[in-house]
């Protein structure tokens, strides 16, 4: 820090002091200007707009274009949403889905991270490369492939269930012929498959991060604990976990944020926004706003509620990152 000020000073030694000061003061702000303008106009301003829109009754595109009046309705949109039993179902779906996905992603990701750390070099590289494939696959195409795997006539899963011995299949599931079985019709089953898709997409990031964390701490401690006779469970909770606590904290918060607003996977798996029984907050907001008849105000109020929930989680995240920055 001090070297920087000194260096800039030396470099500009030939200039007059007044000119130098002006340059040093203004340049960083000039460099930031375009970035700040874009963040302001394209992220912060819309964030304010969505709050504002949630106080109006907006039912047509012509209102948005400014051709028609915007009737102010105060908190009526919120009253309508919060008083609707359906909203409570959606909120429950969203929270349960996020919790289940965060827990499963964290467990699977951590296990894979620990595994990668123990494997031999060649095997670790091979497994890590495969894991990367899942991570790199776009949400859209990843979901399409899973939908094909669960196709009701030629899908792999349908075939697998048909392969089960008929007696067993009938005893456990009450049917032996799975051809034509709608895997996505039952909401619970739908959410289970959605969880599979989302966990498949998101565990690689956790695994790779945990692995990076493991590589950054000395492994002697773990080995010492193992030599002293501690089992793997004990080693993890008494030695590994405490050392990686900050990493785990951030990973949980990031996963929570991501899993709360899953959209693409749900949209593709459900084939659009018709199936209300599997709605979660982000798709609910979108469907209210854009499915005919459009209700932009109502949709906005749902978006605001979603944002508020995530704001709390984000607060936790920012504090964690800043604390880590102080430490490093």
């Amino acid at each position: 820090m001090t070297t920087l000020t000194k260096a800039t000073g030396e470099a500009a030694a030939r200039e007059t002091p007044a000119r130098r000061r002006r340059r040093v003061d203004r340049l960083p702000y000039l460099l930031l200007l375009p970035c700040l303008a874009i963040i302001g106009v394209l992220l912060l301003w819309p964030l304010g707009q969505v709050v504002m829109m949630s106080f109006y009754k907006l039912d047509s595109v012509r209102q948005l274009r400014g051709d028609r009046e915007w009737p102010w309705v105060g908190l009526a949109n919120y009253a309508q949403i919060l008083g609707d039993p359906f909203f409570r179902t959606v909120l429950r779906n969203t929270v349960l889905f996020a919790v289940a996905n965060v827990v499963l992603t964290m467990i699977l990701g951590t296990l894979v991270g620990l595994l990668l750390n123990r494997l031999g070099k060649k095997m670790a590289t091979f497994v890590a490369s495969c894991v990367m494939l899942a991570w790199a696959t776009p949400a859209l195409t990843g979901t399409i492939v899973w939908k094909w795997i669960f196709d009701d006539t030629s899908g792999l899963v349908t075939w697998l269930f048909n392969k089960l011995p008929d007696g067993l299949s009938t005893a456990v599931f009450g049917r032996s012929d799975w051809t034509g079985y709608g895997w996505f019709n039952d909401p619970l089953l739908f959410f289970a498959i959605l969880t599979l898709v989302v966990v498949w997409h998101s565990f690689p990031f956790i695994a790779v991060s945990v692995l990076a964390g493991l590589k950054s701490v000395p492994s002697e401690l773990q080995e010492a604990a193992r030599v002293d006779g501690a089992g793997p469970w004990r080693v993890f909770w008494s030695v590994t976990f405490p050392m990686l606590r900050p990493v785990f904290g951030i990973l949980v918060v990031l996963s929570t944020i991501w899993d709360f607003k899953v959209f693409t996977q749900q949209f593709v798996l459900a084939g659009g926004t018709q199936d209300r029984s599997t709605f979660m907050l982000s798709i609910y907001s979108y469907a209210e706003a854009f499915s005919p008849p459009p209700k932009y105000g109502l949709g906005s109020s749902i978006a605001v509620i979603l944002t508020l929930i995530l704001l709390v989680v984000t607060g936790v995240y920012v504090r964690m990152v800043l604390r880590q920055e102080d430490e490093s």
Partner: protein, 276 residues
């Protein structure tokens, strides 16, 4: 014994992670008879490129070809990359090379805006796009993706700028180079690899995006690839061979780019901060 168990677990994980990608490519290479047979084959018995030919020569949607959508997507993504790279480089230089009053405030702002749920911005951005008269145009998407990719681009790029030794710029300055010259001839070439890595992330953000493209574009000729795929897929979800071929073509560039830069992603997100 233990080693076998570990390797076995490793293979299971690899299978779970990679299988869907493999299955996508394998299905795209199978003739229809194999795709819809009662007993799926793990490997295409008679591999064929017929689905790719269908996709590339036929019309995905009446009147519009796969290539059209591909070009729309590429145009949007490249424009996003160039704009966001340029703006991010300026901002990253400011943050990594200067100490000024609002520096920490700006860094916190970067972190916070990355957490804004973009899904919540569809409605207000739709309003903005309508007001600006950009509805149904590709620039509406470029603008949107620019805003989405910029915070992370700055966050990532500042580490690269900080990694360039200051002495080089000082030397150039002592030799009489102006600020602009130093930036162009010393800093820029050294940051270029970082700029490439950052650009790839912006590219992937823009290339993969579905919701906004679905909402802002109405004219089929201007659909981006993801929108075209949902449309095509929704209309005819039994043509799995073609769907998988289109998916493969869409996914391949992303995987290649992603593998080039994934290590930066972890350090960018988790370490949160490369020391700057």
């Amino acid at each position: 014994m233990k080693k076998i168990a570990l390797n076995g677990a490793g293979l299971l994980v690899a299978l779970f992670a990679a299988f869907p990608v493999y299955w996508m490519v394998a299905t795209s290479l199978k003739p229809n008879r194999e795709i819809f047979s009662a007993t799926p084959r793990p490997v295409p018995a008679k591999p064929t490129l017929e689905h790719y030919r269908e996709i590339l020569t036929g019309n995905l949607i009446p009147g519009v070809t796969f290539t059209d959508f591909f070009l729309n997507s590429a145009l949007v993504a490249v424009a996003t990359v160039v704009l966001s790279g340029l703006v991010a480089l300026l901002a990253a230089t400011a943050v990594a090379r200067f100490r000024f009053k609002l520096r920490t405030t700006f860094l916190i702002l970067l972190l916070v805006v990355q957490m804004i749920p973009l899904e919540a911005l569809v409605i207000p951005l739709f309003l903005m796009i309508q007001r600006l008269g950009l509805y149904n145009t590709l620039p509406s998407l470029i603008l949107t993706y620019l805003g989405f990719s910029l915070p992370f681009a700055v966050w990532m790029l500042r580490g690269f700028v900080a990694a360039v030794p200051k002495e080089l710029e000082e030397a150039a300055a002592i030799d009489g180079a102006s600020r602009a010259q130093t930036f162009r001839k010393v800093l820029f070439p050294l940051v270029a690899p970082g700029l490439v890595a950052t650009s790839i992330f912006s590219f992937i953000t823009a290339w993969n995006e579905l919701i906004f493209a679905l909402t802002f574009i109405n004219d089929q000729h201007r659909y981006t690839l993801p929108v075209a795929m949902t449309f095509f897929f929704g209309r005819d979800d039994t043509a799995w061979g073609s769907v998988m071929a289109a998916s493969t073509l869409f996914t391949l560039p992303v995987i290649v780019f992603f593998l080039l830069v994934q290590r930066r992603m972890v350090s960018g997100l988790v370490a949160g901060a490369v020391k700057g």
